[in-house]
């Protein structure tokens, strides 16, 4: 079923809301054509439990953000995100993703 699909790289991060602008900047300048973001996620991790939605504070919540881009575009982004997480809290997951319309994710492949 993977025939006809193009291999891309999906990069998923969970970051503090105050780093959202910085991460979007990195996505954009790595050449990503889009992203998805889910606000006010809660969960538990290395640093303990994190509450989800705070009624009077959107700045200190957590975001789940991901983007899909070609593997060669992904490498600089991965490197930058690794450096980010040496300075800021957050996690990153890098996985392969197959897409049916590669031009949507890599402008170089646009007809």
């Amino acid at each position: 079923m993977r025939s006809g699909l193009t291999l891309m790289t999906r990069i998923e991060v969970v970051v503090g809301r105050e780093d959202e602008r910085l991460v979007l900047d990195l996505f954009e300048h790595a050449g990503a054509t889009g992203f998805t973001s889910v606000s006010n996620v809660s969960g538990a991790g290395h640093g303990g439990y994190h509450e989800g939605r705070l009624p009077f504070n959107d700045r200190d919540g957590l975001l789940l953000m991901f983007t899909v881009l070609s593997p060669d575009q992904a490498d600089p982004l991965i490197e930058a995100l690794r450096n980010l997480f040496e300075n800021r809290p957050g996690v990153m997951f890098v996985t392969d993703a197959y897409v049916s319309r590669p031009a949507y994710f890599d402008q170089a492949l646009a007809p």
Binding site: L22, L24, A30, E51, L54, F56, D60, E79, N83, G90
Partner: protein, 876 residues
Amino acid sequence: MNPTGTDSESAIDLDVDPDSRRPNTPAGAGRGDPSLRLELGLALRSLPPTWPLRTFVAANPLAGFEDRALPDALAEAAEPTGAYGVLAEREYLDLFAAGMIDEDALRRAVHAAVRAPGVEPPGPHDLVIDGTHLSWVDLIVADLLARPPLAVATAPRRQVSSTERAIDEAMSRWAAAYLDPHATWPMPHRARGFWAAWCRLVVHDPTVRALVGDTGLAAIAQLPAAPDDALHALLGRVEGARGDVLRGQLQHLPGWSMAMARGAREGVDLGAPADLVGFVAARLALAVATAERDGRAPTAAVSPEPDADAPQAVASQGDRARLVLHHVGIATPDGATQEAVARLLALVPSQRRAHVWQEALEATAHERLLARLATSPAPPIRSARSDAHLVCCIDPRSEGLRRHLEARGNYTTIGFAGFFGLPVRIQRDGAPTAEPSCPVLVDPRAIVVETDRFDPHWSRRQAREAVANNTLDAVHDAKVAPMSAFALAEAGGWISGVALATRTFRPTAWRRARRRVDRHLAAGITTRMDLDGSAGLGGIGLEDQVLLAESILRTMGLTEGFAPLVVLCGHGSHHTNNPFRAANDCGACGGRRGGVNARVAADVLNRFAVREALSAAGISIPADTWFVAAEHDTASDRVHVFDVDRVPLTHRAGLAALQADLAHAGAALAAERCGELPGAPAALTPVEAAAHVRERAADWAQVVPEWGLMGNHALVIAPRWVTRPHDLGRRVFLHDYEAAQDPDGRVLTTILTGPMVVAHWICSQYRFSTTDPEVFGAGAKPLHNVVAGLGVLEGAGGDLRLGLPLESVRWQGRPVHLPGRLLVVIQAPPERVDRILRENPVLHRLVGGGWVRLVTRSGPDAEWHDHRVSTTEEEH
């Protein structure tokens, strides 16, 4: 793709500002370097957060260092910023003499400084000299109190060479030209971004040509066209870690750097895209060019001019020891004694002395407040229904109004976030944009239009306004156009002269005349908050109205015992000629006035459908309760009530009585405030004081129309009976909280993660604007030049000034605001507080890192005690 929030408890649709997530890169800039962007983004964190002047929001200037403990943050921030977070020692001595610092607090601070964790034993010992026992603490305190103060080596101030200053002046002019959204002659090419525009135009700048020469300009012309590539190339020519170089460049012009990172995206004008990379590249290009012109390495230190204020001779340890011994009655000490004392005094190094004083100053204020709160009598058993509830913002100024109103009758007051829990943007009908009216911590989720279309006289008002606006536009255009300005002065100069004289010498009369004109334009017009989106824009659905209403009432703790009148009282400051007016407005409303939020909340809570749904949720609002919106003008202490025409006839008498009491309370508050306002006459009656503060607010030459949040130092989260017996001097944030009504801790979580964070920002802003006005303050108001709503310059050039103006925190060279950390006082079960701190990293960071001091008690029979948490290295 738009982000979607998912939360099983909230069905509020997100209508977040798409601009906040839309890329704002210059057209044609191309892809950048993610790693370079990351380093620049992280370097930007070391700068104080800033907002445009018209929505001034107080923020902690050291917010970028909050992941460290406060002492470490102060130490780390000192070198790049030149700020130390403490006053000059002589200022502490003056405060001690004035009784603002207790000697006991000073002794405790000395003890803590010397016996700090990690200090190797055996520690200091007392001395016995000539049979006299001398405590080591006494000796060090005597040293600190020595008068006249001996010259001590102070921490070196950050010095800037004349070359760097010249570069900064040039960059300041270019940034102002680029970012000005109202320029009569807009900067060419600016839509392509700063770097592209600057590269094309800098060759025509004679100041830059004089700075770097033709060779330097030629080198700049050879740099890559893309700003990322240009910055990359320049960083390759400079020694030092990239992050350090970038931070160093940003710290030269932190105000302009923050403005450049935002770009001119407010409103509909996107004519100046954010281009921080281009701005840093331009400054670094000039730095490199001047270094090469001088034949030095670009990052080699340029010897700054000597610090003229540094003490020329610093007292030796021996001098200090002799003075201290003389102070304790030993006039001729032997050498061994002198040496022993000198060793003791060295336990508090010169550069720690001011920090010891600062801890003592802060501890004095905190302990005095806690001692008073400990004496509050047990709450009375209330049987009679209040005549009215007054719900005010947590702002310290509200404490004064609440206290004076409570003294006048059967009133109950409540402290609550001034935006009344409404994450909204407000748009005046006909205005081009909707403005957020909630804390900057909160994403606006809905738009509410303030419309006058319901009024039958709407079309007449539109016509009058159109005439007035067209006239004003024509006058403005004539003023700024080169030739017509002279003609206008000839034709209409005498009118302006009369207006000028009236405004200067009869400010109250001028203001009355202006109001008459405004009323004529809007005669008989009333506005409504369009909750349902009837104007074709915005609105809040019924389900969301119910959710908001329930959240508002539960968070403010008003779920039963409703008075016939519940007044939701926002606040704002109505005065004139102050670029920093927004700093005196409501911080909870994003630097705007809170009356509109009060109107929206009152409308929601008066709706029958909403009350029906609330009743099903367990909150029954009596049929005879009416919510009214009002706004407290903190400059004149008048309270304006909105929408009086919609108040039921049955409540008009009660409202009239309340308004009369509010007027008296306001006048009494004005008299209280006049005792502290500079230049106010002494011993004014309330009537005289009310007239004085009105005149002050109308006086365009008045640099202190009110003191704003001067003196703020604590937030009390407790029932009103804990604070009601005490005059807190309008210096304490008050948020009502009843632990028994909040079994799962959700309300306390909301208060701590929202209002407490805002209060901490305000307290920090006031602190650092007081202790380090040159770095984190905005300078003196008479010298301000306003730059297109972005900020102010002090004088003709330089950086956009950050923080509060001098006149908000100092007067005649002395600190009026007493700097310190926010004291947070909570009456709640300690295990509940523990859990909330554990589950919310922002609180763990602020409390664990010592940015705020947290004190709790479980109930009226318990004692207040410091609530500590363990610090952690990482949050994930």
